[in-house]
């Protein structure tokens, strides 16, 4: 009997397992984005201060996370740190940690760029009514910068979601990892299983990322029209 390959997706628990893997990826993305964005707001604001030491340190932090490939960061935190520092973190926690630090680094650049493009007059108008430094950021600069940050932030979100596909390398049970297991386990029955499984994974990632990137493009276009 000729098997229709698509059935591999529905045999046994396969479909729910794949969705479960997707949920792991989504969870890691959400947690690291929330933490990373909040941390990035703080770091981005700090990077607009005049203190040269602080600026250099934060600049190095950004460059480190930008230059070192994400895979290497994951290996570094998963295999190397535990050995040398005797900390044992689960793969998912390591993933969240690495992604959050990475998001914070990228976010700090987005935030800084947006903050310094708020007109200087706005800062002076805030100072002239007696606002102190933190108040200036809280009530004047950040609210005006947020609009400028949103498209780049959404693009960062899609990058984070896409990059979760690397997590199988530190044995996180994400959707790609589970997909591979299913393909392996069904090699006899469904020789073409890979096509269907990866096809589904493609569609799932597309459904997660496309709306985000379309939204970012829409906002960017609107900003360019307003500018």
């Amino acid at each position: 009997m000729a098997h229709s390959g698509i059935n591999i997706l529905f045999a046994g628990q396969n479909f729910t397992r794949l969705l479960g893997g997707l949920w792991v990826s989504a969870k890691i993305s959400i947690v690291s984005l929330v933490i990373g964005i909040l941390l990035g707001l703080l770091l981005g604001a700090l990077r607009t201060l005049k203190n040269p030491v602080l600026r250099t340190i934060l600049r190095l932090y950004l460059e480190f996370f930008r230059i070192v490939p994400t895979v290497v960061l994951l290996f570094l935190f998963y295999y190397i740190l535990p050995k040398n520092f005797n900390v044992n973190l689960s793969a998912q926690i390591v993933a969240m940690l690495v992604f959050a630090l990475w998001v914070a680094a990228e976010m700090s650049d987005i935030v800084r760029g947006a903050l310094i493009s708020v007109p200087r007059h706005q800062k002076e108008a805030g100072m002239a009514i007696g606002l102190n430094g933190p108040q200036l950021y809280r009530y004047v600069l950040l609210p005006q910068a947020v609009g400028l940050m949103i498209p780049a932030t959404i693009n960062l979100m899609t990058r984070v979601i896409k990059t979760t596909s690397l997590l199988l390398l530190i044995s996180v049970m994400d959707v790609v990892n589970i997909g591979q297991q299913i393909i392996e386990a069904n090699r006899q029955v469904y020789p073409n299983g890979a096509f269907w499984v990866y096809g589904l994974i493609f569609i799932l990632y597309f459904l997660l990322c496309y709306p985000l990137s379309a939204w970012a493009r829409h906002l960017e276009r609107r900003q360019n029209n307003n500018a």
Partner: protein, 245 residues
């Protein structure tokens, strides 16, 4: 003589190697209107910005209400509640409504009660003829309206001294009158003010004293009537002749 509200002694200001203000000495009496005149680039904005700490200066002594000013961030932040400033560009906060623009200082800086601050804000808005615009956003207002709101925003802190740097310079001619009217009313209420303006008729009408600045030097500090009728220096004479009245 009563203590002046503000006394400036031997103020020197440079940007890097460029010396902008030279030995500025200036006395501003409580309840008086001082008009600061001078050609473009003479240092008027720089001087006025030194007086509320938006620019730092290399040396010199400021005395406000008889208290010597120690120029550091903390002092300036305190003093700016007493020294209001309005700029040429009407820079309201675009993300806040008119009312929230006005209330930001009273609520967040002075920690006053919302009810009391709002009552005052509404009263001030009425005085400048904009009572109906509380909930508008700045982008919905004309330049003249924005500038009057910016003045109200500064006044809402109950300042003792107001700095105005060419507040009508970027307005359409038909908007200028309304803003000058607000300044005139303030002068009548005996607000102490330092005004930079190119509206010479208005300057002549409102000035108790005129300070004439050229290339960072104060060339004259004379009573208003005397300055316009009979300036002491040739430079001031030339400046007056160059202006349209």
């Amino acid at each position: 003589m009563a203590t002046p509200l503000l006394q400036v002694e031997h103020l020197e200001k440079s940007y890097g190697d460029v010396h902008i203000l030279h030995d500025i000495n200036l006395t501003i009496a409580t309840g008086s209107v001082t008009v600061l005149l001078g050609p473009s680039g003479s240092g008027k904005s720089t001087l006025i910005r030194c007086l509320n700490g938006l620019e730092d200066f290399q040396s010199g002594q400021l005395t406000f209400s008889g208290q010597p000013v120690t120029p550091n961030a903390k002092t300036w932040q305190q003093l700016r509640q007493k020294i209001g400033m309005v700029f040429q560009s009407y820079d309201l906060f675009p993300n806040l409504t008119v009312l929230d623009n006005i209330l930001l200082g009273p609520l967040k800086v002075q920690h006053r009660s919302k009810a009391e601050a709002q009552e005052q804000a509404v009263k001030l808005l009425k005085e400048v003829g904009l009572a109906d615009y509380q909930d508008a956003y700045p982008r919905q207002l004309s330049g003249g309206q924005k500038q009057r709101i910016a003045i109200v925003r500064a006044l809402a802190l109950n300042p003792e001294f107001m700095l105005f740097d060419e507040v009508t310079a970027s307005l359409d001619p038909e908007m200028v009158r309304g803003v000058l009217e607000v300044l005139r009313n303030l002068a009548q209420q005996k607000m102490t003010m330092l005004v930079v303006t190119h509206e010479m008729n208005f300057a002549r009408e409102i000035a108790d004293q005129v300070v004439f600045l050229e290339e960072g030097h104060i060339l004259e500090q004379t009573p208003g009537q005397q300055f316009f009728a009979n300036p002491q220096t040739e430079r001031a004479q030339i400046f007056l002749n160059s202006m349209d009245f």
